[in-house]
Subunit: 309 residues, 2 copies
């Protein structure tokens, strides 16, 4: 029952000074940080698309992933996480245990990133598991990272390595909130996006929004060992996986070339790699250099949410 | 495809001065109203539980209902609606048309209540339709209506009439935001809740949260004509439907008896009824008066989200 779950959950949620009214009322009441904007994003995960319950996916990981993809959106805006609300549609059998595991996964990541769990909605139905997480963050007015601000000549910087997340990393998403906050405090980022559907696809989206193109340095694209492992299994190139696989949840940033050089030379306090993977151009779409030095177009590829009319 | 839907949707969404960054980026950026708290609530609706697609339910109504139940939560906090984000899991076939109809239903109600559509998430899967709406509102610090503030002696006031919403009203939810704002500006409301799961069940929840009981005047409970119609069909009493049916989305408020009398005598500018249906007591649970004048317990009944461990 929903009430049994709430009786279990509510005493376990830590008090948070940002909450004037916490979970358990009709809505939560938050004290927004003075002088800052509110940043909001929602993500919905469903069984069979974003996770498959089974030996390789514990329900705690679904809670983790649900919050992590939202925090990744906040990171891509240069925003600081503040709070989250979580809604679930549970299968009727096993729903109680699932709900507690999901909540535990959410709560653990929320504690790591200092996110107040403000509320939620618990439902049951005859279908499969669906989880929706809405995150709230904050940012100084005019300081958020948009995806439409890239300028020709900007360097394109990527966090982390790409490809093969389906081998398990897609459940263990590590949002780059701290990395984003560190960069936002020091460097003039012009545009940013997080890679949810594929490096080349999301880069192409950022370029399209900015009215720019991108010249990618394919030799510089950081390939995750998982991409190489997957490549052995399916025969596709590891670079292809790095460019087209979804759910890396790394950040792509553009900033002036000189600032990017400073960033890459700085004392970067995080273990995740920072790599310059290309340059913003005055053109359209993505391109790369062929062996003879000429520029050739590169078709963006990635995960598409497909549905028919 | 998701992109086709976004290409259709984004140009149709009105600009809103509350949005520093609107839909289409990794997250939206809102300008929160100065000096106010942020109120947040999430609700998830699923096919077969909250609606059944078919001749009696147009997909536009699902969008309407999704936003309306969230706005009802804001009304129950005495909060002013500000913004909403909407996530959907669409069936793969027909998902595009569904998404556009749902968006149209959301947008129409958003325009009515001056809500900025800040963003969303569009997914497709092999399951049935799921819609999740997160609403953001605002309220003055310390002025929200909690459900735990009822005091013995308070009058219990209800908006509207109860029962039989399943005959169609449950899709045509009219959130009581304007009524709540009017009352909040004039009267000292101690506690409030909206009736989503049943008048007696939600009243019992508010009383439990407040550490109080309620003496209900059953003769005063406003019975909706739908409850009487349903009663003819199923043989249950109309009052039973009024007390136990879910999804009325009316408000229950407690306030000092004298203030309640003033409210009931005031020039109330809305067509919806306001009725005193009982009194908060120092006891526990719900009770009513038998014909001989003695107090007898009344078991709360309503809709329970049922799932097994």
């Amino acid at each position: 029952m929903e009430q049994d779950f709430l009786d279990w959950l509510l005493p376990r949620l830590p008090n948070d000074p940002r909450l004037e009214v916490g979970p358990g009322d009709d809505a939560a009441v938050l004290r927004p940080p003075a002088g800052r904007r509110t940043v909001v994003s929602v993500d919905m995960l469903s069984e069979g698309v974003d996770f498959r319950l089974g030996p390789e996916c514990h329900p705690r990981q679904i809670g983790h992933k649900g919050l992590a993809v939202g925090l990744s959106d906040l990171a891509a805006m240069g925003a600081r996480p503040e709070a989250a609300v979580v809604a679930v549609c549970l299968p009727r059998v096993g729903g109680g245990a699932l709900a507690r595991d999901i909540a535990a996964g959410v709560a653990a990541l929320a504690a790591t990133f200092d996110v107040a769990i403000a509320g939620g909605d618990t439902n049951a139905w005859d279908g499969a598991l669906v989880v929706s997480v809405t995150v709230l963050g904050s940012v100084e007015p005019g300081h958020c990272w948009r995806r439409d601000g890239a300028r020709p000549g900007d360097a394109i910087i990527a966090t982390g390595r790409f490809g093969g997340s389906i081998l398990g990393r897609h459940l263990d998403v590590q949002p780059r909130c701290r990395e984003a906050a560190w960069i936002a405090a020091r460097y003039p980022v012009h545009a940013a996006i997080d890679v949810s559907d594929g490096l080349s696809l999301d880069l192409a989206r950022m370029m399209k929004a900015s009215g720019t193109g991108a010249l990618l340095d394919l030799a510089a694209v950081p390939i995750h060992p998982d991409a190489a492992r997957l490549s052995l299994a399916d025969g596709l190139g590891a670079l292809d996986h790095a460019l087209a696989d979804g759910e890396d949840f790394e950040l792509l940033l553009t900033l002036p070339s000189a600032a990017a050089a400073e960033l890459l030379a700085a004392r970067w306090p995080f273990p995740v790699a920072l790599t310059r993977i290309g340059t913003v151009t005055a053109g359209q779409g993505l391109s790369t250099r062929a062996a003879d030095g000429s520029e050739v177009p590169l078709a963006p590829r990635g995960f598409i949410h497909a549905f028919a009319d």
